[in-house]
């Protein structure tokens, strides 16, 4: 496949990823993950990343845990600030596949800015982060095998309830 076609598919994939979360289509978001054993989703603080410290802010280490993260929101288990969120994904890069790696898996990098808007229509910047993902191209369908969201704004405003 040509580079530009893959680039366009990945870009569309990341836009859909953001839309699933913005529109609270959480089942659709979960369906973007590959249900393999070591499917991971992590939100990492840049501070910890730079220090080589392993603790995530949010860590899901199986497809089930990815499901649970949003199920707790949908089922009303958590009391959290229910703002409207707008995720802007930018600077999407497709990394060349590592030699000897899985032929159909490849890395993706992208920037993320999230704005929050409260019930009275007041907006503010909520999050600055970058995506570090590993995607698989399985029979023409892109799926996330590993997703790390590295957060520059790790002094988290109030809470992080909805995944990034």
């Amino acid at each position: 496949m040509s580079d530009w076609l893959l680039q366009a598919r990945v870009q569309a994939f990341m836009v859909e990823y953001a839309a699933c979360l913005d529109e609270e289509r959480f089942d659709d978001w979960v369906a973007l993950f590959d249900p393999i054993d070591d499917c991971t989703y992590e939100v990492l603080s840049r501070e910890n990343r730079d220090l080589g410290l392993p603790a995530p802010i949010m860590g899901c280490y199986s497809h089930g845990m990815v499901c649970d993260r949003v199920a707790m929101l949908v089922k009303g288990v958590l009391t959290y600030r229910h703002n409207h969120l707008l995720r802007q994904v930018s600077n999407v890069r497709v990394l060349p596949a590592a030699a000897g790696g899985q032929a159909q898996a490849f890395g993706v990098r992208a920037g993320l800015v999230v704005y929050q808007s409260d019930p009275e229509g007041v907006s503010s910047l909520y999050m600055v982060a970058r995506y570090e993902a590993s995607l698989a191209d399985l029979h023409g369908k892109l799926l996330i095998q590993r997703m790390a969201v590295v957060v520059d704004s790790f002094g988290i405003d109030t809470m992080l309830a909805v995944p990034l």
Binding site: V43, N48, A55, I57, Y61, D157, T158, M159, A161
Partner: protein, 431 residues
Amino acid sequence: MRKLRPETADDAWPRADFSRVPYSVFTDYDIYRRENQRIFRGPVWNYLCMEIELPAAGDFVTTWVGETHVIAARNAAGAVHAFENSCAHRGARLTSAVRGNAPHLTCPYHLWTYTLEGDLQGVTFQRGVGGKGGMPATFQKNEHGLNQMRVAILGGLVFGTFSDATAPLEDFLGPHSIAQIERLLVQRKPKVLGYLRQRIPGNWKLYNENVRDPYHGSLLHQFQVSFGLQQPTMRGGIKLDSDLKNTWNHSIVTEQDAASQKIVAEAYAGTGKFNPDLKMADPALTRVPLDLGDNYKTTILSMFPTLVVAQVDNTYAIRHLRPKGPDLVELHITYLGFESDTPQQTRDKLLTVNFIGPAGYISLEDGEALRLVQEGIRHRRPGDHEVLEMGGVGPIVDTDYLSQEISIRGFWSFYHRVMGLPGPADAEAAA
């Protein structure tokens, strides 16, 4: 500096048992400024960092004491010193790094240098240039060190105080605190697994109330109730130190039986929050075993003014409050594992961190609760106050039950005294 407004009747504390707390303590900027003088620069020990964060000579961290930026550093002789991060010359911040290693500290502005004890070491062009200028002969470097704190260390926790009147650290913490520090931080050697930071739009004392309030634990935190981490029927209680400022609250592992489920169901009736059929697609998080064999499910040690050493299920963390004004506080969490942990125990802790911190299934709700209180009290009538009667009024005493707010009253009795606030003449009687 603008003069603080005089205290008025609206600041008065109407009850000697501190079961009423005027909302102005959470919103009034003058009270907030007084706290900086009377508490953070007053006779208290402020948590600075963990000793393991300063393993080598020259290591330093920056932290906050109230709104004062402080450097804690280990010098060549191995001693830990602490001082304000503000040059003795013109006040510039010496470093903006959160942590680092340096043989000495240099102010970026005019390159004055300081030792890691906070003493002035070098003044550029002190003797002038080409025989002209320079500092006057009367200038004595030993009179111009950084503002230094007294430092004391207990159980690997580094504390500092600006006051000469502060009681010895062991006395200030009290026996329950020392026993819990020993249990959580000394019997196994801790290591830092990461830092979590949560900026909560609420007053720093609302967090002090939150951690002294086991009443909310099984009500706000439905996740805890649903997965057996905290049940209103659990055994547990609180222990206070002699001047009531520090609280240890704890709950003990109990089997969830039909009777306890019935009590939970009744407590939640009509709230729409009880969900007995809640299941997890992957329950691994809730199945991590407790690796201390002493059956405590949750133990929260809250020490005046800004330190919490917490075990929530199998998580171990230092929580430090960094006020940023009357209506904002950074909750800074040092998340811990232990040197003796197996690789599996480390993996378990990277999983259970999902209970705590800004994204924690439990702790994220505390950020929201504080925000809601701060929003709710922003414009209450002067003289309005909190009502703290759960668990009983009157004497402030230890309990063997969890649904109580007595330990919150303990916090306020000490706060009231150290702040020198107006109140009922017999306020001391409660203590």
